[in-house]
């Protein structure tokens, strides 16, 4: 478990203790509520995890670098953002991949576009957001991040060339 994991466990334990000292019944009620919302979320989350698992098996880092290695220039930037938007990757896979792409000669704007979209645009989030908020909200939130990615690409282009 990572440091953040320990911190979050520590925090939960401390808060539960304080809560127990103040009001035992209320604490139990709270823990029950927490367990209940966990149970309600599992049916929504499990299919998502299956989908992410399949996606990560097909779209490996080496697959992506083979796609992003060749093209640069405007087409490469668009390609970077498109691939980032479709795929999903946890940050601890995405950023080392970004480093690798840069080291093997990838252009900065292209890598920036890929990283921003892979973190915040995608079908995985889209599904979760449609479920929790609404389809409209999912479209709006993903579009905001995509616009952000385009702005990032433009700025990186100006700074690094």
């Amino acid at each position: 478990m990572s440091i953040e994991g320990y911190i979050i466990y520590g925090l939960a334990i401390v808060l539960t203790m304080i809560s127990l000292l103040k009001d035992k019944d209320k604490t139990i009620q709270g823990l029950k509520k927490g367990a209940k919302s966990f149970m309600k979320l599992m049916p929504v989350l499990l299919p998502l995890f299956l989908f992410i698992g399949i996606l990560l098996a097909i779209v490996t880092p080496s697959f992506i670098s083979s796609l992003l290695g060749e093209e640069s220039g405007l087409l490469g930037y668009v390609l970077g953002m498109s691939i980032g938007s479709i795929t999903f990757m946890p940050p601890f896979v995405a950023f080392p991949l970004g480093r690798e792409l840069l080291d093997s000669g990838g252009a900065y704007p292209q890598v920036a576009g890929f990283l921003v979209t892979v973190m915040s645009v995608g079908i995985v989030y889209f599904a979760a957001e449609s479920r929790f908020f609404s389809k409209k909200s999912a479209i709006i939130r993903n579009s905001i991040s995509l616009i952000g990615a385009i702005i990032v690409v433009l700025i990186v282009m100006v700074v690094y060339t």
């Binding site: 823990l31 509520k33 919302s37 979320l41 989030y125 991040s145 952000g148 700025i155």
Partner: protein, 178 residues
């Protein structure tokens, strides 16, 4: 049956994909299931304390407090709070949704909850530090500063895209989901 398929679109798509990749190469299937198993396990490790805190939050923090701190009229204070909650967080973005639902349920405004989610997904501190070590300070900062500005501007205006009823419906939905 049709209703089941409609309600479980994602599951259906995943099952179809699994069948297709199994035909192409069984190795993909094994790797997919292994990935799924690993992410479920790592989620089960990180997520319990989050739900403990969600439950405690639910019983201890009164609705009036959330409305005052993060509601429609909370202004800059609400956004700042949403920022800190998102930035000082841990766990995958998926774990942010239940928290977002509790906030909505208690009367936080849609724009503040959305802002919180956007910060959590791309600008939480563990990610930013990791990004700086992997990509260098300058490159990481251009990305993060730009996204922060985009998120702030969009959070300020996003509610204009919705009618009052639509905004109300988010809160109702949150009640059924948490």
């Amino acid at each position: 049956m049709m209703q089941f398929i409609k309600n479980n679109k994602f599951l259906m798509i995943s099952v179809v994909m699994l069948i297709v990749i199994s035909i192409i190469d069984m190795n993909y299937t094994y790797r997919s299931l292994e990935n799924t198993w690993n992410s479920i396990i790592s989620m089960l490790i990180i997520v319990p304390p989050i739900f403990v805190m969600i439950g405690l939050f639910d019983v201890w923090v009164p609705r009036e407090t959330v409305i005052a701190l993060m509601g429609k009229e909370s202004g800059i204070k609400g956004m700042a709070l949403a920022f800190f909650l998102g930035a000082f967080s841990a766990g995958p973005t998926i774990a942010a949704f239940p928290l977002a639902m509790v906030m909505l349920k208690k009367g936080a405004s849609y724009s503040n909850v959305l802002f919180f989610l956007m910060i959590w997904s791309s600008l939480k501190l563990p990610i930013v530090f990791f990004q700086i070590t992997m990509l260098g300070f300058k490159f990481a900062m251009i990305i993060n500063a730009t996204m922060l500005v985009v998120f702030i501007i969009s959070a300020l205006f996003v509610e204009k895209l919705y009618s009052d009823e639509e905004l109300q419906r988010f809160e109702e939905k949150a009640h059924t989901l948490s």
